[in-house]
Each structure stands twice: as structure tokens, then as C-alpha cells.
Symmetry: D2
Subunit: 460 residues, 4 copies
Amino acid sequence: MLFKKIESEGLAHFSYIIGDQTEAAVIDPRRDIDVYLEEAKKEGMKIKYIFETHRNEDYIIGSKALAAVSGAEIFHADGELNYQYGEAVEVDREYKLGRLKIKALHTPGHTKGSHSYLLKDYDGSPWMLFSGDILFAGDVGRIDFYGEEKLPEIAGLLYDSLYNKILPLGEEVVLCPAHGAGSVCGSQIAEREVTTIGIEKRSNPYLQYQNKEEFVAEVGEMEAKPKYFRIMERSNLNPSAKKSTPFIPALNPDEFENLMQKENTAVIDIRSDSDYAASHIPGSIFLWEDILASFVGWFFDNNQQILLINDGKYPEKAAKSLFRMGYENLSGYLARGMLSWHMAAKHTESTNIIKVNQLCDLLDVNSDSEYQLLDIRQEEEKEEEGYITGSLEIPLTELQANLENYLEQIESGNNVYVFCGSGMRSMTAASLLENKVESEVCVVLGGLNAWSSTSCPIKI
Amino acid sequence: MLFKKIESEGLAHFSYIIGDQTEAAVIDPRRDIDVYLEEAKKEGMKIKYIFETHRNEDYIIGSKALAAVSGAEIFHADGELNYQYGEAVEVDREYKLGRLKIKALHTPGHTKGSHSYLLKDYDGSPWMLFSGDILFAGDVGRIDFYGEEKLPEIAGLLYDSLYNKILPLGEEVVLCPAHGAGSVCGSQIAEREVTTIGIEKRSNPYLQYQNKEEFVAEVGEMEAKPKYFRIMERSNLNPSAKKSTPFIPALNPDEFENLMQKENTAVIDIRSDSDYAASHIPGSIFLWEDILASFVGWFFDNNQQILLINDGKYPEKAAKSLFRMGYENLSGYLARGMLSWHMAAKHTESTNIIKVNQLCDLLDVNSDSEYQLLDIRQEEEKEEEGYITGSLEIPLTELQANLENYLEQIESGNNVYVFCGSGMRSMTAASLLENKVESEVCVVLGGLNAWSSTSCPIKI
Amino acid sequence: MLFKKIESEGLAHFSYIIGDQTEAAVIDPRRDIDVYLEEAKKEGMKIKYIFETHRNEDYIIGSKALAAVSGAEIFHADGELNYQYGEAVEVDREYKLGRLKIKALHTPGHTKGSHSYLLKDYDGSPWMLFSGDILFAGDVGRIDFYGEEKLPEIAGLLYDSLYNKILPLGEEVVLCPAHGAGSVCGSQIAEREVTTIGIEKRSNPYLQYQNKEEFVAEVGEMEAKPKYFRIMERSNLNPSAKKSTPFIPALNPDEFENLMQKENTAVIDIRSDSDYAASHIPGSIFLWEDILASFVGWFFDNNQQILLINDGKYPEKAAKSLFRMGYENLSGYLARGMLSWHMAAKHTESTNIIKVNQLCDLLDVNSDSEYQLLDIRQEEEKEEEGYITGSLEIPLTELQANLENYLEQIESGNNVYVFCGSGMRSMTAASLLENKVESEVCVVLGGLNAWSSTSCPIKI
Amino acid sequence: MLFKKIESEGLAHFSYIIGDQTEAAVIDPRRDIDVYLEEAKKEGMKIKYIFETHRNEDYIIGSKALAAVSGAEIFHADGELNYQYGEAVEVDREYKLGRLKIKALHTPGHTKGSHSYLLKDYDGSPWMLFSGDILFAGDVGRIDFYGEEKLPEIAGLLYDSLYNKILPLGEEVVLCPAHGAGSVCGSQIAEREVTTIGIEKRSNPYLQYQNKEEFVAEVGEMEAKPKYFRIMERSNLNPSAKKSTPFIPALNPDEFENLMQKENTAVIDIRSDSDYAASHIPGSIFLWEDILASFVGWFFDNNQQILLINDGKYPEKAAKSLFRMGYENLSGYLARGMLSWHMAAKHTESTNIIKVNQLCDLLDVNSDSEYQLLDIRQEEEKEEEGYITGSLEIPLTELQANLENYLEQIESGNNVYVFCGSGMRSMTAASLLENKVESEVCVVLGGLNAWSSTSCPIKI
């Protein structure tokens, strides 16, 4: 029997391949599908079914690419949408997989057509539930896609799915959600690599409500919806069947510089924050490799030509992250990294950085009016970790979309000290603001985490 | 957070590595330890603890090798034994692992000193139980190591461990046993790759008893204990810290033939049953690669020099299987396999094979006296799949130890048709009997599985 | 600087990737192109050029697939042909590759438009010659593609290329041919993994001629040209850009049996000769995995559906071999191999095998009329290893194409003993003859190699 | 036939595995020997011989480790030394390797007992020469190990080896030296991945002399000999048989900081120069990962405990580089890199960097007395690339050994601008000088390479 959770790092997305005898099924395949083929090969299986839990909005689905190679049948949820491939899953139908059966359960909430898939044990009892974006470890999926006025309705659907369909399956049932901690799809997802319905019943805050009224009254709020969600949604009705990440050419400094000048071209620097701070190519935007997949959609368009700056080795991981998010126009990367750029004596910029103790000393002797704190964290982080007194609050994800607006607020002439959790996203903010404000923008290394381990005048 | 089940194929043994932040622990490491080191590297962890659930008797434990490389502390169960390494685990002590805790539970049964390890969730509630050989999916560990007269006592201990310590942890707790389906440590282990205490409570036959009396009365019987168990038990009080599988030299036919003549040398043919049947080196014993780890200990001594015959490529998988069982004297393998042997015109033998329909036809016209059926399956297989009427029953595992005895029973002069489940083990029996009986020994291809799909005079 | 020889096993084809700084070039890429991309990634290079030495007839060229992924420019030789991609190489043009240069030399012979590529050292002197099918280690390419009457003309062209273009480059120049020992493109290719023009000048029999007249008089003969050559030739004017080997589904015995019945379906058994002999599926053709790429084109059409029988693991290597030869319709393989077939009690056949000493004994007491020797080796093998007195000679490669003809010659009612070098190809012959002749067909294990190490009445 | 060049990156060391039929030999194995075992496995060979060309002084030889695993016989050169393993190679003896032969040639020069190994073709003619440190592509090995007064004697020996033993083998012979471009063992080694005796005869400056007198008069000079050479020389008479790189534990910032305080502990930062410049742990020495193997021996003792700072992923490549140089006490690396250090608000330092154009502007307006240029390149680089007018010259490799001396020269109070080829080694110098001089030390990014592409007052 085959059961494997496939994690797509950066996205914290989980897909699954399960199988028995010579038949396997994949739940919510990602776009780079080799991993499923390799598992099937290793186990001596064919891929019979591909099941989607919902029309995904946060990455390109791999169903079509996987079916093209494997000959699997695709069943999608949200069947009312205008899919150009596969067929709609039948509610409550049981699909045979070797000696096992998978049952499709309609569990609306995240989307109206969301489905969960229940794998039954050899004796027919409930065994594992693939719950998509309905139920995570410690969290539930967002329910604001249908607008604010629909929140109560959708919350009600979610309540019924959770309390009347999923919980009754039994505490012993293994829960296999579509996302883990670190996903944009659930900010409170717990770091529980393995969980069960019983564990969630015990610990998940959304499973502690007494009744539907209470649940509907308290659960659900409008969240930012990046424009790339719309693009993914459209793509996922007819995703590309292309299965391989593009090959990214190595460029020497002259070639790189030439391509940078071309229209509609973005330069993304995926090194560390301090590396970027010391020396970077003017005009490059900083986006740390480890969070590239989560953030790229907020700042760049899928049709842009992308140039990458990293340590100078082939950017395999970045290529995968970008491919999963639908970015395929990868014009090249700087061979040997900034070393070759420096050796060619090409122009560079640097960004100011400051350590918390330095900042602390500085603030001690300064009056409030001579500096500005810029807090670029998301709302839920602030709720959890505390607000910085007196700071200007601009979530990083909104910075670029409303840049003109925000520039005015920032433009005080004073030094701006940028805060996030660790300094990584602050460096992205600084790179977006570079040469756009008169103030000196300065990234606080270590961010809030560093700050909270010192005793300083800023109140959190 | 890191959680990974490591399966040792052939042994159906499960070890685990779990970790949080920079700290990892390994439960019951196997001897080829690279897999644990690789996981720790990938996750950016050190290996802090090694926990053993009991003194193992069916493979060489890797604790000492892993500690030597990683600097981990070893804690073993069965603390009353005279271990030459590590220290005894403390009952009910909680060991810190990043932000998590692991609690050692004394769960006697399989051995008196068996321990299970309970991983607690971030909030302190029970999360996963590493249950060693106490509780498997669908089965429990054998309890006959202390002799027949102690069976009731040990069964009582097991009952208390199962019903009073493990079940109360909660149905939602994920269960991580030390063996899966196909292990010699539990013949009824279910093919459930993932299970929970609740699923076992529902389905495991050993968790369905009403009270201790009933349980003690019905559970437990004496099983065959191969001599290699004693060797493993001794080894595992002070296992070798050698961590790499030996390098096996490629031999040409002349070199192979020379080494075969040496004293205390065994030739093991790990190809398919039909390949062996068509042509094999006289004196070689057939043992199919996929079951090598499970059966080698019944037929070969650890101090024997071993020569391997396979498809002629480097026998990596066999080297691993043998290493895990403590076989390190691997003198070589026949380069390019039997092809080179044939091209050198060296002597070969063949073994008779028969298909079930041929046998069926044959038996139709024969009187009972002119052939003999030899059933070499284990007792529990016969219980489950049925007995073959009129067959001579010699479990394969006992054939060699009592060969003289059995030869007499076989020596009827009639054709002997050997049955097992599939034909694979029958071929091993035939290779053990080759040139030892006057009768013509003939392997039934497909074995009982084939037989049960035809309609023939032999009653099962 | 990058220089890597890529061997395609089974075909004994060599392609090359060379590069300097950020620029690489590939010579004669094979169809599964990942290997070139991986090298370029590892070295931090883009792929700038693809050079073809001639229009290949023995495998599908990967130029178009590689260019599609990498953006490389393709230059092909035999520019007079009607290519649907790339552009014709310019004679004597030097192509820049980092600080190096590659010069295209027109070296007709194998084909009229064959080119060799000369890599120059940093100082401009000749360094390596990529000689395609013109000059091999110990051999030259065949020159019979333009018909018998053109042999002298082509031999003259070849002489000029070898003696007037290649030899003058200097003895020190490293020679990089397109094939190694074991290729169908040169039966006498030496096992020299590395060679130079000087070594060939010293040892290659084709470089020992005194003058053109002598060369033209002695070199060149008509050889068999399989029909698949024509297909490759056509394909390679516009090869598929598909870059991945197909995914082959695992089949259970019932599924396999069903697909076998379909029209235009071939079953290829790629196990060992003895495995096939003991038990195989009726109708399956034996073709040992290691020679699959070289022989598949003689017996099967590219549009056939192919089913594979192997050891039951995923047939990765066979998939690659078939893909390189343009076979993409791979319907499946038998999961778990013949074991599952036997367990399902499905019908099998066996083939007679005999060892040389047995045959030797047998022939001793038989008169000539009661048996028949069938020698299926190629002409050049017989020239080198000797003829078997009194044998019927049918090269394996011609057996199927003229089956009716040959059946008559074989059909004597006597036992037929089939010989090749090792027994492997004899088993293929036996599988082609199965159920087609009344005689008992019997494969001589070890073949001529075994025979020559015994003393027997058959004269070689 | 097997021929494979194994490059040890960082050291630019080449070892070789060659083989025929089932027998392989390894020339000058490195310490991490898995690569040879893997090749032998892939080809179906045993390892029969290990040949050493000389007692190595620049890395730990793997002969003993490889023999322990494979059972190979070891033959070493420099037989007059007091080896604790293997046996001395016999001059002119031919060693059988399958159907091939390897002949040991005494070729003194680099050391008095240096040997080259000549692989002969199947027909007995010279094929490949494994020339150790005697003859490289474009260079010869250093000959100053026996002191200045012996230079003429050793030069004479080298001349005879080159002109009277090696050149007569023939221009067509493939040359396989022990080092490539970038090695400390030959500063002028050419980037010729493949070469022949003929190519060297044509291009190697050391093969252009008219007679021995001229050669002896001009070739040979004393070079710096780092103390680690002595340690390697001693080690290599009885190297450790340990074959695996140590496992390096991941440390959190507190653990890292604690271990830093321990005596005899070195902290090596292997990130990029700009990453180090922006923020590093006080007391850490910068040594870029790509040149770690070449430089570690100049600055650190083998018995020191080493802590590593990198990007926070497992430092596999660094572990290998250090292991090859005999550094085994690897106490740990900082998990998640400087990000975790920043988040823990621990103390950091930064280093000044300057771009060439900035420096250029600066120098324009400054008088000579107000700054100091520090050129840390090796003598041969300066010869090739030019001297910087007015600079203080301290080769990096000598900086630490004579630190007190040099500090005085540097200690002018003026800004010090450090130059090397690219900036990487300048950062190492800056890290060695940190907090030791009053002057502000400033690394010139891009170094001489950058400088030479601008027009500035400093003369090169």
C-alpha cells in the first residue's frame, strides 16, 4: 500500500499519492509532476485517478500535465466552473483503487464546490480524509472569496462541513490537509506534520464552537486578495500541460545588463538580506529564495521576463518555485553571481542596515520626530506578536499596489527604520522603495524577533 | 517539524526520525544509518537522542553506529540486560526535543522491558506513540520468548500495556509501530501504512477482548525461534559500529569457481525462481532477493563466506539486506551473472518446474501412491489459506535444521511436487534438497495462489 | 572548461558537450536530453550551439528537443537534405564558444555531407576532432548508403577526408567519434575509451593504406540496411521535440492479457535467456534488455503498441532505449513480472536449452542427418570467430524479414540447435520460430564462446 | 573498458580509475573514496590496484581507506620513505589489468621517487600516461622540496624525465596529470581538460628548451611552503583509513556562541564576500567556500575545533573540502545561518567595502600619504597581471604567519584599501586584520579585475 505526502516547499502545499496493488491516485497535484511519476514507478503502479479538492487560486494545478503523461482520469471539484479538462467528481461516489475505495464528500466552505476525499480501510471503515482547504491542522481555509455580504452564508456551509460531515467520521481518522504551516492559505496553521480528526477536535480553535450561530457570528473576515489569485483561478480552468521547469541560461555581466534594459523585465535578487544590503544591482528587487513562491505573485506579472541574481549556481529551486506559480519567462541568471558583476566593475548600490542595539541606542537620544518606524507585517502577525507603538503600518503585500499613496506618508525626510519579523521582508520593502523616497531607508536586521529579545524604548 | 518513517524493505521494519527546531531523535535505527543522517542534514538538525523500544532479535540495531557518527545519546529499553553501550531509559521521564517532549512509557509484553515512546504535541497532549513490537497495525508482538510456562504471565503484562496504558492515550493518537506487513515479527500485520490508536481499537483483533482473563486464555503460543535470533540478541548488546555495507568484488567465472571451493562458503542465488530452474550453479542455494533479509538467518551462519549470483549487476540491495542481518563476509558476485558462466561452458544444473494446469492433468490420471505433495508453508499461512489434503508438511524454515529426518519422509522414490504461496520458497526448498533425494523434486510455479484459481482434485 | 562524453548505452553512441566560460555546444545530441541540460546547469553555462555531424540513421536525434528547451542554434550537416529545422553548417566557418573556437570541416564519406568539428585550443591550435561516423577507434563508418555502384566514389571521398583532412591535423589531436565498441555503425570499433589521431594512425587498419587506389579497391562493401534506418532518416529531417520518455503503466495479469489481444501489439520479454526459457508468455518475443536498442528496429514497427515483460520493476532502462529509437507507444509492463503471471495460473510456454557439453555428447552418437545447427550470427562475426561446419546460416537480423523462406530450410523435422555468440540472440531466434516449425528448437547456452572452450566434433 | 577522471574541486586534483573486464585500478585516490567504489560497482569490477605517483603533500591520500574497503593492493612511489602501509612500486614492472597492462616508470623531478604510470593499449603500444605532479597541461610540478642548493640537481632529473622518458612515448599518447588549472601545485596549469604528449610538446613552455643546460639554468625557484605541507607529508606515510566525512551538527545561536568560547576553536565564515562585509560574527575568519580547500591549510591547524557559518543549509561541500585536507573536528554550523543570529539579536560586525569607481574618485582628490594600498596577491599573479604602483605587498598566505611584522607596516593610521584578483581573498585578509589595526581596512570589490576595466590613477 502506498501513501505519501508531497510537500511543495515555499508554498507549504501538500499533495498526496495513495495506491494499492497496481493502482494509484493523486490528490491536488502540483505542476512539476515528476515526483508522482517516480513514486508510481517505485511502487509498480499506474496512476488511475487525479482528484482535485477545489479550484486552486494559489498555485498552478498539475492535473492536466499529469494526466497527459500518465493517462489518469481527472475529477475536479467546484464542478459548476467552466473547466476545459477532466470531469466533475460525483458526490458520494466511491472510486476503486486496488482493494481500497475513495469516497468523494461534498464539503463546501472554502469554495462552494469544495470536496474532501475519504479513503476507506480494507474493511470499509473511514481511514484518511483528504480535506483540501477546508480543514487544516489548527486552522480552516479562508471563506471570503464570495464577498463580505456572503460571509455568514459561507461560514454556515463551512460549519456544516466541519461539524456534520467531517467530525462524525471519527476521531481515529487520519487528516490530510492541502496546506501546512507557512502557507498563505491559512495563517494559523499548526506545525503538526501528522494529525487526526481527533487531534483537531481537541486543539483546533475552529472546532471548539458550541453551535452554528456562534460559529457564523465569529468566523470569517475579508482578507487581501492578491491579483495573482485571479490569474491562478483563470489558469486553473485550463492549465498548461507543460511539465518541465524551463531551462535558465547562464549570463555574463554584459549579457545580463543588456537583457535588463529590455521592456517588461524584472530583476529579482534571491540572495540573503545582508548580501543584498552590501551590494546589489540597481533596480533589482529583493525577494529571498525561501519565500519566493509565496510572495512573487504580489509583485510580478506572469508575462514579465525575469532575470535572477543568486549565488551564481544554477537556480534550480527558484526555477521550481516560479514554475509552480506560473512564471515561465526566465531570461537568465547571472553566472558566478555578484562576484562576476564586481569583477566587471559594473554599477552597484547598497542598502542601509541597522542592528537592534544600534537602533536602540539611537532612539534613546532622538526625539520622536526625527525618525520613522515602518512596520510592514501582516495584520495577523501584529495581532499575535504585538504592535509597534508609533509605527507607520503598511503591509508589504500592499506596498507596491499603492506605492504613490504610501510614498507620501513615508516622505518625511527622516530616517525610516523598516521592521518585519526577521528582516527579510523589510529588505524587500527597502528594495521597492529604493530611489523613490528622499528619506534614508534602513532595514532592521533580525526584525521583531531581535527586538523582542532586547529592552528598548519602542513598545511592542 | 520533522517526522519520517523509514522502511527497511525485506524486513518490513519501521524506524523513525522525529525532530523540532535543531534537535532530532531516532527510534530503533537500522544498521545502515545514512538515511537518518541525510534527513537531519536536510532539516538542519543534530541528532540528540536514539531511543530503542526493546532489545531487537530480528536485525542488527544501528544505535551504536549512529551515535558514533552523530554524538547522540542512546537510551535502551530492557535495561536489565547487560548492554555494552548507551544507558537505560528512565520510565516516565520526558526528554526535550526542541519545543516538543518525548515520554518513555514502560509497556512490557513482547519483552519484559519493552518501552513505547509518546511524542507530545506543542500543547503537551499525546500526539504519536512509537510502540515498538508491542502493538502493530492489526497485530501484536509475539510473547513466547520466556518459554511456554510463562505465556500467561507475559500475556497478562501485554494486556495491561495495551488496555491500561496505550488505549487510554486516546483514539486520536497516531500509532507508529516497529513493523509492517510482511515482517517475521507479526504474521498478521495489516497493510495499513498509517494508523491510529482509534483505528486499532476498532479493527485490531487483539484489542477486542472483554477482560484480561479472556485475553490471557486465548492470546499467545509458542512459535519457531530461529537460531539467528539468539545471535542477533547477543550482537545487539554490543553491536558493531561499522556503518557502511561492505564492497562486494565482481568475479569472473574462474575466480568464482575457485572461491566456491573454499571451506565455510555459501553460494546464494538471488535471481527469480524460473531463472534458477533453467540453469544454476550446482551447490548454490536459491533465495529470492526480495525475501533475502527475512530468510537468510534460517539457512546461513554469520561467519560464512557468501558468494552471490544475480543478474550480474552490482548486488546493492542484497548487500544491504545481508548487512542488516549481520552478514559481512561477502566474497564476491558473478560479474555479468550466469551469462558469463554459460559462455565459460562451466557446469550447471536445472530444476524441474511444473505449472498448475500440467500438474492438474497429471494428477487426474495418477493414483495417489505415485506422487507426493510437499507443502512448505508456515502454520499460520495454512490456517489462513487452507491445508492441502494429503500433503507432507515441512515448513521451509525447519527443513534444513532437520534435513536428515525429513529426507526419510520424502524418500519415496515418487515425484515430489513442492508448494508454497507463489513458488519462490518452493524453489528454495528444491535447492536445499538438490542431489539429496532420489525422487524428482518439482516446483509448482505460482504455488497455492495459482492453484486456487483452477479447479483440481487437490483439496485445499 | 567543460568537456564531457555522453555514452548512450545499448547504442554505443557518443555525444559530447563542450564549453568555455558561459557558453556550451553539444555535438549530436540524443533524444533524452536531460543529461546536456544537467551538465550546462552544473557548469553555469547556456547551450549556444548544437552541431550535427550527419543526418543520423540509427537513432532519433535530439537537436530539436534540445533547442526547444535551451534556445540553442542548430547546425546540421548533409545540408542538401530537406530539413524542417535548424540551418546548414557553413564549411570552414569558426564558431565562437567562450574563448574557444570550433571549426566545421567538410569530411564526406559516411554520407556525402558529413562534417567533422575541430575544437581549437586557447592558442588556436587543433585540440579535439569530433569526427562523427567518419573515423572511429579502429574503424571507419560504412559507405554503402548510395548503392553498390557508388562504392568506389564514396570510398574515394572517405580516403580524402581521412588522409588529406584529418591526418594532417596532427597526431596529438584528441579524436572524439560518434560511436564506440558495440555499435551497429561499425562492427570493428575498438574498445578504446579515449583515442587520438596519432593512435589511430598507428593502429586503425583503415589508416594503413599506401594510396587512394589501394584504399578504394579494398574498402567498402554492401551491408544489410534494416528498414528502420529509412524511418530514422525520415524522422531526423524533422524529429519530435518531445523530450521525456513516456510513463509506462504497471499492469496486473488480467490487464496485460487484455492488452495483448489488441491489434498491432507486440510483447517483448527483456529478461535473461534462461528466465525466458523456463517460462514465458506465449507470443512474446525475447529481446534481452542490454541489446534492446540495437535490435528492436529489426523486428518491431514504431507504430506498434509495445508491452514489456521484465523482472517486474519499472523498466526505466528499456523505456529509454525504446524512446531513443522512436518507440513511444508503450502500453504497459507486467507488474511483479512473471511471478504475478504464475500466481494467476495463466498459460506459459518454455523453450528448450542445452549446454555445450550435453550437445557435444549428443552429437557424438548421432549421425549428421538427425539434427541441424542454425548459426544466426552476422557475417563479420563469422569472419572473426570462425564458421560452424555444416550449419544453416541465417543472420538473426534477416530471420523475420524472410521468415517463410527460412522456415522451409529449417523444416526438416530434426532437432535444431541454435548458435550465436552467447546464447542471447539465439533465444530471440527461438522466440521468433516458436510454434512456427515442427522441429524442436533448442538454444545452445553460452553459444560459440562456450563451444570454443570445449573439444567437440563441430568444427569452428 | 573503464576510464574516468575524478576531479576534486577546490583542490583541482585529478585522480583516475581505469579498468578492463572485472579489474580496475585507481591512481592517487582522494580521501573520500565513495566515487571509486561507485564506478567499480557500475562497471562490475573489483579494485585490484591502487597506484600513487608520489607522496602527496597537498591533501590526504585515500589509498589506505580504499584498500581497507576494497581489498586492493597499494603501490606507492617515493619508496625510500617510511610508509606504514602498502608496498613500493617496482620500476618498469608491468601490472596486469584485465587484458591491459600498466607499466611503472620512474620519473623523478617533483620528488626524487616520483613515478608515472603508462597504460598500454590492447596491442601493447603506449596509450595513456598518468604523470602525477611531473607534467601538467602547460606546466610542470615544483622542484624546490629539497632546498635551494639542490634546485639544479632536481631540475636535471626533471629534464631527463620529461625529455628522455615522457616525450619519447609518442605525441599521440594521452596525458593524465594529477592537477588541473587552479591547483596550488602548479600556478600556470592550463585549462585543458584533455591533453596529449603532443599537445604539451607543442604548447607547454617547459618542453620548449633546447638542451638540459638551458633547462637547468632557467627552471626552478624556491616557493613558499606552508606548514600544512609538512603535516600532509607526515600523514600520508600512514593516513587514516576513515572513509566518511564527519557529520556536522546544526547549532542554534546560543549553542554556537557557547562553542565559540571554547579554547582552540576557529570560526570560519564561508559565505560570499559581500555577505560577510554586511554582517558577520566577531572573531570569524572569512574563507570563501570555493577556495576553502586551497587556503584552509595556511590559516588553521588540523587539531582545531572548527565552527562554520554559511547560508544555514548543511555544509556538505565544505565538509568534504575540510575532510580532504585532514580537518575532522567540525563542531557545528549555525542552523539557518546569520538569519538566526540576527533574530537572536546577537552581536555582529561589518567590514568596509568600496567599489573601484568610488576608490578611483577618492584617490583623485587625495594625496598619496593619506591612504595605503595593500596588495595580497601571490608573486606569480603579479608577474602575470601587473604590479600596483605604490602598494604594500603582503601575500595573503604569509599574512598570518608574520602578522606582528606586517601590522607594523600597515599601522599608518590611514585607510587601507585591500586588493586581490576579485575581492574574495582581500576579505580574508580584512577578516584576519579585524580589530588588529587602527586603520580603517577596506576591501576593494572586484579587485584587480574590476580595476583593470576602468581608467584610474593607480598604475598596474
